[in-house]
Symmetry: C2
Subunit: 469 residues, 2 copies
């Protein structure tokens, strides 16, 4: 494709995207295709010769768009916000168009240095001290894996340079809660700890990890010859936005030299609003934090911010330095390939830069507050409606609800819950996610799409009531 061909197709695509975004609220939120339907719309073998660009646009309309659930839709309340603000889309277009590739500092100085600048901007926006340095990774799954590997190596005094986890020493243990994200267990298993050495600590009535239970578990483990290695504290859990008491956990970790990783993937963005910061009190005492600007801050996926207090430790664990990657500028610059797993790195800082530059911190803060207000407003209405219940606290933008008709309990209630959630989703009006809390299914209504207004929530609430009628 020549630059002139790209110019024509690119203009058409920009118009297509602007129209798509402008009309998103007229489309069904959830994808409506049956399994295999999208695949069947494509040839099973690759074309030998060049095919027309018009077919790309026709397929986009006929197959791709109906085959997507639209996270940017104003009535999308599923999973978590992944709002893909257009200000951030512009920066990602730059990244892709430039084709920059971070391998060494020299391969793309601007990629490295704008990443230092923008991650520091986010640090300031959420009120963290200057003790933190940031790096952009793809997802919290990866950032948490890096955190647990760093914890493993600190606890084992760099066993990776010797026998690794295969040295037969005292087993290292990772502590999580029942509210921890699935990626935390996955990271621990990938890092070799083993399921036996991942302990699930009990939670209190607000679904927060109990520090007394954590302390007790560590004592038990030490007594049997195991070594507490890391605690992952969740700041805004996926299921119901629970907040582990970071300060109390940090005290226990500090006493025993245990790594504290804070998973603030979702709720970290909320800290742009000062009044939310008590929710992560003690966060300065952690060793690492993950906070996903691609969730609620408005950045286009993927853009996960990993923050550390000790970058030298991180680099010592993750660095490789083969001859073909050595750079004369190495001593004076940051080498981000040694801050994570992937060697090659996209120019992700651009999408964070254009987001913050074009929106400004005030507008981002106002949007966060708007979503919190929306959630409180919906929670009040649900609470005031007979037969409906808000089943968890609403500290931020997610409302966990259940419709509880008289006489319906246990598995019958679960079946009812899942059925009405499916009916709402199938209607195309809104998209919600069902999840399990206290052993029972409930439905999460998670605010955060950029164009969601009060009326979209009203329409969704009507759809929920229709679905149980």
């Amino acid at each position: 494709m020549t630059p002139e061909e790209f110019r024509r197709a690119g203009h058409e695509l920009v118009d297509w995207i602007a129209d798509f975004r402008a009309t998103l609220d007229t489309r069904p939120v959830m994808a409506r295709t049956a399994p295999g339907e999208v695949a069947r719309a494509f040839p099973t073998t690759p074309p030998e010769t060049a095919q027309p660009v018009e077919e790309i646009f026709a397929t986009l309309d006929a197959t791709i768009v109906p085959g997507l659930t639209h996270f940017g839709h104003p009535r999308f309340f599923g999973f978590f916000p992944s709002s893909s603000n257009l200000s951030s889309v512009l920066g990602d277009f730059m990244s892709t168009g430039l084709g920059a590739l971070g391998l060494t500092w020299q391969s793309a100085p601007a990629l490295t240095e704008l990443e230092e600048v923008t991650t520091d901007w986010v640090r300031q926006m959420v009120g963290l001290s200057e003790a933190w340095r940031g790096v952009i990774q793809d997802t919290a799954s990866t950032a948490t894996l890096v955190a647990l590997v760093c914890a493993r190596e600190r606890a084992s005094n760099f066993a990776l340079t010797g026998a690794g986890l295969q040295g037969g020493g005292a087993p290292l243990v990772v502590y999580v809660s029942a509210q921890s994200h699935s990626s935390v267990l996955k990271a621990a298993l990938v890092a070799g700890f083993g399921r036996t050495h991942v302990r699930e600590i009990g939670i209190d009535a607000s679904y927060a990890m109990r520090p007394d239970a954590l302390d007790q578990a560590m004592r038990e483990d030490r007594a049997r010859g195991w070594r507490p290695c890391a605690v992952v504290a969740t700041c805004g859990s996926t299921t119901c936005t629970a907040f582990d008491p970071i300060d109390a956990i940090a005290t226990i970790c500090g006493d025993q030299g245990v790594w504290l990783h804070v998973d603030a993937a979702m709720a970290g963005s909320a800290m742009v609003a000062e009044e939310c910061r008590p929710l992560w009190a003690g966060v300065e005492r952690a060793d690492s934090i993950v906070l996903n600007p691609h969730k609620w801050l408005g950045a286009i996926f993927d853009c996960s911010l990993y923050l550390v207090r000790d970058p030298e430790h991180l680099v010592r664990v993750m660095s490789t330095n083969p001859a073909y990657l050595q750079s004369t500028a190495a001593s004076a610059v940051t080498t981000y390939r040694d801050w994570g797993i992937a060697l090659g790195r996209r120019f992700r800082a651009l999408k964070l830069w254009t987001l913050i530059h074009l929106e400004g911190v005030e507008a981002i803060r106002a949007r966060i507050r708007r979503d919190i207000d929306h959630a409180r407003w919906l929670a009040e209405i649900v609470r005031a409606t007979p037969g409906w219940r808000v089943v968890a606290p609403v500290p931020l933008q997610t409302v966990c609800v259940r419709h509880e008709p008289p006489g319906l309990e246990g598995e019958a209630l679960d079946a009812h819950t899942r059925a009405w959630c499916d009916r709402v989703n199938a209607s195309g009006i809104a998209y919600l996610t069902a999840a399990v809390l206290d052993g029972r299914w409930m439905v999460r209504v998670a605010m955060g799409a950029p164009t969601t207004e009060r009326r979209h929530i009203e329409e969704t609430w009507r759809a929920m009531q229709d679905a149980v009628a």
Copy 2:
């Protein structure tokens, strides 16, 4: 940013990118900024209020572009090709503009199913059998980590469900060669094997792993109570495009139940040309392969293809299934989050689709053959020039050269080599990467940028000769 604001800025950006690509050959290839220079061009604090979009474009010209080494430049011969063809850029723009997010099949059926279609297209293009299934990951670093974790779990009969690597059993061993990419060792260390249990197998005169030495090492290890777990065979090494003898290695692995992972990140793309396929003879006997379409195939970074013969094993190792990610369609569909580390996934298949659709396999094959011809042509000229030497075989698109003035040896020769490479890069005319082979520095000239013609190589060869004069 509203859709109408995006429309205006997007059109400006598309024109900017088309112009940038059309004039790339007039720019210096290597970034010319000093450490810290880019960072100083940005405010140290984030803007409180929205800033003008014009500033974005001004910064792009004044700071970002001079701060990048241009991988798409026709005289870029560094590292490896990462050619970012505009046909693929178009598909990535779609991905970003749509804001789709793969979590479950239902969250984006088109994302999952087009990934199945396009990865199967690439499988066919490189001549692999129907036994293989593919998934797109970010980089080969991640794919290799996944491969080694899968190997670890097969060898340990799913120790991750129990004590992990901390059960005190016979240590598991990974086998690599001195030519293996740095990401292989890194993956083994992240996965917990430990440096002690990563054995570097000797290489022959063509820099290929010696099967007899591999066999010997496995015997030694078994004799001391260790368990051979995985071999990573390289198909086109980074330093000098060395090819490990996959067939012979597969025989040794098969005899002992050892996982064979083939790192064809760079050279896998070459297999689109049938005549290259003998270079990876035996590949069908491997357990996993990584092949990066974002290198030589023309896809925009990041797009790394991980191919496996046993997806059920992969899913069993990597799966998590919390309630909030369950889907009614789960049994009938592919759940790609369980095929790698990251939970959230970009719609990467779009950039592979538009690349292949808009270029066609014939044109991609012709471009691969053009680059191989370019390399052979340069190698002949270098060989015919007094004082210059081609220091490694040239099976594909990389020529490893050294200028060896009479009387210059050892460290003095190394200093000369690095100095002239730096001079070429600093000139802005071309970009080359120095690397170490047989303990001595040499310079790699790696073909593969989409617009490289014979004259660009001639210009680069002149710059190399000027640099040693």
